[in-house]
Amino acid sequence: MSLLHLAILLPFFAALLIPLIYTWTKKIHTGWLVLPIPVILFIYFLSYIPKTAYEATTASFNWIPRYGINFTVVVDGLSLLFALLITGIGSLVVFYSIFYLGKNKERLNNFYAFLMVFMTAMLGVVLSDNLIVLYLFWELTSISSFLLIGYWYHRERSRYGARKAMTITVFGGLMMLGGFILLHIMTDSYSLREILAAGPAISNHAFFIPAMILILLGAFTKSAQVPFHIWLPDAMEAPTPVSAYLHSATMVKAGLYIVARFTPLFAVSGVWFTVVSVVGIITLLWGSINATKKNDLKAILAYSTISQLGLIMTLLGIGAASLHFDSLSNNLYAAAVVAAVFHLFNHATFKGSLFMMVGIVDHETGTRDIRRLGGLMRIMPVTATIAFIGTFAMAGIPPFNGFLSKEMFFESLVEITHLNLWNVETWGILLPVIAWVASVFTFVYSMIIFFKTFTGKIKPYLLPKKPHEASLGLILPPAILAALVVIIGFFPNLIAAPILEPAVKAILPTLSGADDFSIHIGFWHGFTPALLMTIGVVIVGIFLYKTHRFWKPFLTVKIPKWLRIGKAYDNSMFYMEQGAYRLTMYVMTGWLRTYLNYMLFSFIVLVLGTLVITDSLNFDFSNLTQVTVVDGVLAAVILVTLIGIVFSKSRITSIILLGAMGYTISIFFVIASAPDLALTQLVIETISVVLYLLVFYHLPQFSNIEEKPKFLSVKTLLSIGVGITITLLALSAYDTTFYESISQYYIDNVYKEAAGKNIVNVILVDFRGFDTLFETAVLAIASIGIFAMIKLRLTKRRRKHENE
């Protein structure tokens, strides 16, 4: 186990200790003791930056080597970018939560334990090389996210949100596991690197597309892509540090990680490009439109996150096109991947800061509703500054980092329309148009977040608390992120070479051979279409923001009517539950006769079906013995008694007829030369008849519930069917003797080996005495059981004629 493994598992081990620490140290806020963990990890992962620029670091730890499941960890550019985000923002979030969550009124031990488990899970997802281990950590993120969303479990909405997030992400996770297993079947390996290396070889495999779709389902559910985005707005019931950490910066990017990671494998297929970019662009548009109609700041941010994730997803989809061009000099689609990675980083910074800002506003004013907020700029100037930077970066305004990545986004979209592949030339023009519209809406909601909250008139009568500037501890983490937004906005190349470049090379391994590939992000590109599009976004966006109150009611009323995925989810949950309940109530009637009908029906279908399908029906009567008159008469007697039993109207007749039939059968045994059987049959028959008489004395008369036997009822059909089936089976089986009977051995050895002349009895007690032993046991159990049932009455009810 290397240091890298320990680094991944460190938060997990810490989570084990947190409850102890919490109970021992009541005076200090537990967050202070947790804070060093992500900080140490952040510094540790920073130390990988110089190394990772040239090569990936691998460390392996055998877990289940026989099945090829090993805890193998690989640090390459992409993993490192994520690891830095997770630990860096994790540190800030822990710091923020110290001031956000009160020491006395919150269960901090739970909070930090869940958070640390999540951190381990997330690090495991991005660093694992083994698919099964990756899946393990993936589910751990789902579970810890479930726990964190439901942190205030006394609230109905929290529980609902947690359950919804769990259902959807675990559904996706299971789909992804299926995809991983298909990959394993195709490549015989669980190692991500080996599978990626085997990429071209399996691209024509029948499982290739199914595996791709399943893995994409996992990625889309986790990254809240349409139509699986519905869990994310409900996950906003979590405490704000959790929203900032999980649902903006890290966990929802796990799906993006998966898409980026599998790009070298799946991008050869046009399906991948189409699905990823189309789903991404729809999500982008849908999220941005929905964000403009929300009144809750966190809800706006949730939809904004969905929208931005769609943007990154689109870029990753477009980046897939780059694998189809060998020449690197004019490989413009690789720029889309650069933009994706860059925006992924940028989004984590500004969205983290925005969530923390919203948390501050909520914390200091007591509400997050933009209709009650306003004019906070004077009271909370620092928070306002942070919000300004965050929102303008999100809107894509210079000089912040969002501007740069949005420029690159537009460039890539314009570029994709020139692609001569997969019929993109025909429908590809839609991509930049939709993206542009979505950007306008992005601009609008960004402006709403900032201006509605911080400008205008203050409404103190609407605010639950008297607002004042937040403490330094709450301000510091978002301030650091906002500073990053500005710094990267001005000096994007600070992270371009050390962090982004290895990440892009990890996504597009064909680039790694080319040394001339380097990222240079500049402000000025000349008058490109992208710049014109940005200017258009700003102009139309300002116009739409100014007229927002006129068209907003139109959105809130009209759009939800025709497509409400959240409602569809609720309905499907309701109807699935109802359907399962009704099905159970319909099938499980509680009547034994119903279940017997099921069994007999299945028996007929299975046996008769097998006989017919395997063509086993054969009737060969050549080896039959001669039917004597006695046989015929006895059979006729049995038939008559049988019909009498079925149609008799009183129980006593049925019993007498049953006795008659039993005696006749014993005569059959006599004819078939089986004296022992005949003896036993007679005795048992007599005893049974007596027992029936005993039991039936207590029952009501038959005539009370008498009904005319219907000839075409289900019962009649089933009994006729079973009779026919058994008859056919017996007739078909009669002549299919494959082996000689072994009875000759018994005949030869009954006296020689076992000193007996009665062959039946010798078989029962000598050759196969074990059966007899356990049949004796059965009889013993039956008699003890009857005794117990009669004697043991735990209820007080006593019959009149009880013996005692």
Binding site: V630, V637, I656, S666, A678, L682, L693
Partner: protein
């Protein structure tokens, strides 16, 4: 040979007789008729088994004959008791 023919005829007659008793079981107006018919079937069976064992030239079925006679008696007694008292086994009388 004569014995064989005689036995066959005997078996046939007893079979017919069994059938007639069976008719009585199915039809018999009272339960007592049915029980008597069942008892008689038992006796018929004694005869049939005896003739069969002669037919097969074996004495392995003599036990069966004895048993049928015994059981037919027990059966008839219990049926009769059931008809008369409504139950087969009496409980201990505690004065």
């Amino acid at each position: 040979m004569i014995i064989k023919i005689a036995l066959s005829i005997g078996l046939l007659l007893y079979s017919i007789s069994t059938f007639l008793y069976l008719y009585r079981i199915l039809k018999g107006p009272t339960t007592s008729d049915k029980v008597i018919a069942l008892d008689s079937i038992g006796m018929n069976l004694v005869a049939i088994v005896a003739m069969l064992s002669m037919f097969y030239k074996t004495n392995a079925y003599l036990d069966v004959i004895l048993l049928i006679a015994l059981l037919a008696f027990i059966g008839t007694v219990s049926f009769s008791k059931f008809i008369e008292k409504g139950k087969v086994i009496d409980r201990e009388r505690d004065n």
